[in-house]
Amino acid sequence: MAPLNPYTYIQCPCSDSASLGRPSDATSPTSADGDEEDNAFDPRAPRANFSLYPLEYLLYCEDCHQIRCPRCITEEIATYFCPSCLFEVPSSNLKSEGNRCTRSCFQCPICIGPLSVTSIEAPPSDPSLLVPDRAGTPHTTYSLICSYCSWSSTEIGIQFDKPNSIHAQLAKIRNGGASRLTAKERKERRKELSHRGGEAALAASSEAAAGQDMDLETQFANLKLFYNSQLADPNAGDNGFSSLGDLGFSSPSSLSRIMNLYTGGKLHDPRAKSKLGAMREAITADEGLLETDLDESSLITQLHQSDFLDTASSTQICSQPPNLGETYIYGAARFNSSLRPVPYLLRTKRSKRCPVCRHIISKPEAKVQTTRFRIRLVAGSYIPSITIRRLNLPGPNGPAAPAILGDLLEPLKPVHFVLTFKNPIFESLKVTLGAPAKTPGRFPSKVTVLCPQFDIDANTDVWDEALKENDRESSGRSRRRAGTESQFQVEVGKIWERGRNWVSIIVEVVPASLKLEPGRDVLKQDEDVLEIPMFVRIEWEAEGGGDDAASGTGRDKDQKEKKELAYWCVLGLGRIKQG
């Protein structure tokens, strides 16, 4: 079994719905004896998993004086950027261009490796000729190449004329190299034709559309155009004032459409209904009708000729970006040979707010290249950290064996753990601990906190302290280090060790015996881990007026305001030996 390193998890108070949003108050226990045992936090409860976090994961709201975990903060997106080129994408572009990089950053559709643009030089026909007979250098094209799996965009018949703005070029190229018109271009072309006017031009355009394979974008555009004209047409027949203009805001059809938008389409204008009835469906490709191609024989033969590795996996298909140039919705990429390069998905930098007071708790630097934060209120700089060390006291018969972390705990044999609380703030802390006398669960271990109440000195300047050290050396503190551990007795109510901004105390634990009734039950996963819930309550004096806890040395004591914070944490001490 893997050795277990001692750990401390802190329960975010947000999981307790009663205390959400305000500092917990009257419920906090003040002593370690039984009265809080009935509502003690059970670290093994199924819900506990969702509220326990290491200290490093937690943030802190200075205004609410409360811990904030990833579940109880609101996030706001500060910047969108491409993880490949680190280009910041304005959020206005997202709506129009989607959440992928629109420059030249692509991932390999086969192996997700980054693709690089490489030039394909056509071999010069006659290298001895210094002056090529054709104008300029031989035509250079570019392809995207994966340096890991050697995939190349030439495999799907795609080459580019320019080494930059690959995204725009790719949108115009079908697999196989045939070019296609983007929606904008098609619109322009249509406009051009209608300007020229005449039936002949329109006929020509419809012919062109039929000649070109209908892709998703074309079909949608055709359908939209068709329905728009249909919505306008019956109106013209019914009403006399249609000549006033169908596109104006005052036209009844526009009005009814707008009304439908607001009413969610439920309350239909009876007139609109009758109009809808008069509409017909698309009947030609030009109007957006697409016949289903039921003949899949070519696909089947292709499948026959290929093996399993030639077909695209579901992850590969899922990672494919929506391709508006796809011929039709049936027969989406099934073979590796039809997968297209995947433009990088954009990432975000987010700032975090307290959901209660709306203050910003964490705000990254807006520039993509910097990893610094402008504001970052981590819990570690507000609440004491707890570290656990096992203490091996000498037994009556001989010196102690060195304590090894991860050692199994002997059942029913008292063990001592040194808990070191380190104060990160510039005020001295008053700490009160509470732990149930028996751990919850099927195998209750006995827990005694030998010193449940103590003060920790402020986190003052290290150098100030170093200068003061000499005076202290003679008094209380030095006595700890003077002798070896064996000379020390574990005393109830006494601090074990004290330093500049830290205090160590002893917790005595009698691990439960993991004896199971034979044949009745089995040990559940991690049931042998000795975890003790502990209620921590800290009190300190902050400067009044809600100001941050600054170095309050020269300030008037009267202005100080008493603050307190209380939370549950779980100390994982080790595994209990079985059998």
């Binding site: 192996c111 050697s150 030439t154």
Partner: protein
């Protein structure tokens, strides 16, 4: 440095000195390790990096033209079978064996222009085709036959390289060798 290393590892340096057949244009670092009892042939313009190990105990080792054998590679490792064959390992022209790759002995063939990636393992008797790429940490089982232009990537997935850049790669290899010859002091006499 290298002499020190030999004294620390007497078991390695005490191996039999194999008969060698070197082209005059090869580059072989002094600290390369050549052991075994069978002939080791290295053809023209190939480069053997320092601390590459070639072991001909299980048969002859033949390295083609313009090959690059990187550091800490093990060519001719006696595999689990321990069989001795006439030809242990053959590297085709323009083959590259990258750092810490190992190629087991036993009629193993690496084709022309093939790259055996960092830390890869090629089992005994495997035949790897021309212009293949074994990406780092690929393992080719013993006796496997890999067709030409295969790319083995991501835990054994395979595909065919259709870029058609074999000639370009060979040209690149030649250019790289030009640089390496200037960087690596050669001492073929040590092995003669």
């Amino acid at each position: 440095m290298s002499s020190k290393r030999h004294s620390i590892l007497p078991a390695v340096s005490a191996g039999p000195k194999p008969p060698v057949h070197f082209s005059s244009s090869i580059t072989i670092a002094e600290s390369a390790l050549l052991t075994g009892t069978n002939l080791i042939t290295i053809s023209s313009e190939s480069v053997i990096h320092p601390r590459a190990k070639l072991d001909s105990l299980a048969g002859r080792i033949t390295i083609g033209r313009r090959c690059v054998v990187h550091e800490r590679t093990m060519i001719g490792a006696i595999g689990t079978s321990g069989k001795v064959t006439e030809q242990a390992v053959t590297l085709g022209d323009y083959a590259t064996v990258e750092v810490a790759a190992s190629i087991e002995a036993g009629n193993t063939i690496i084709g022309e222009g093939t790259t055996v990636g960092v830390g890869s393992k090629v089992g005994a008797g495997a035949v790897i085709g021309k212009h293949c790429t074994l990406t780092p940490h690929t393992e080719v089982p013993a006796g496997e036959v890999i067709p030409d232009f295969t790319v083995i990537y991501s835990n054994g997935m395979r595909r065919i390289d259709k870029r058609g850049v074999a000639d370009l790669k060979n040209k690149g290899q030649a250019r790289q060798i030009d640089v390496l010859r200037r960087m690596i002091p050669t001492n073929p006499a040590k092995f003669a």
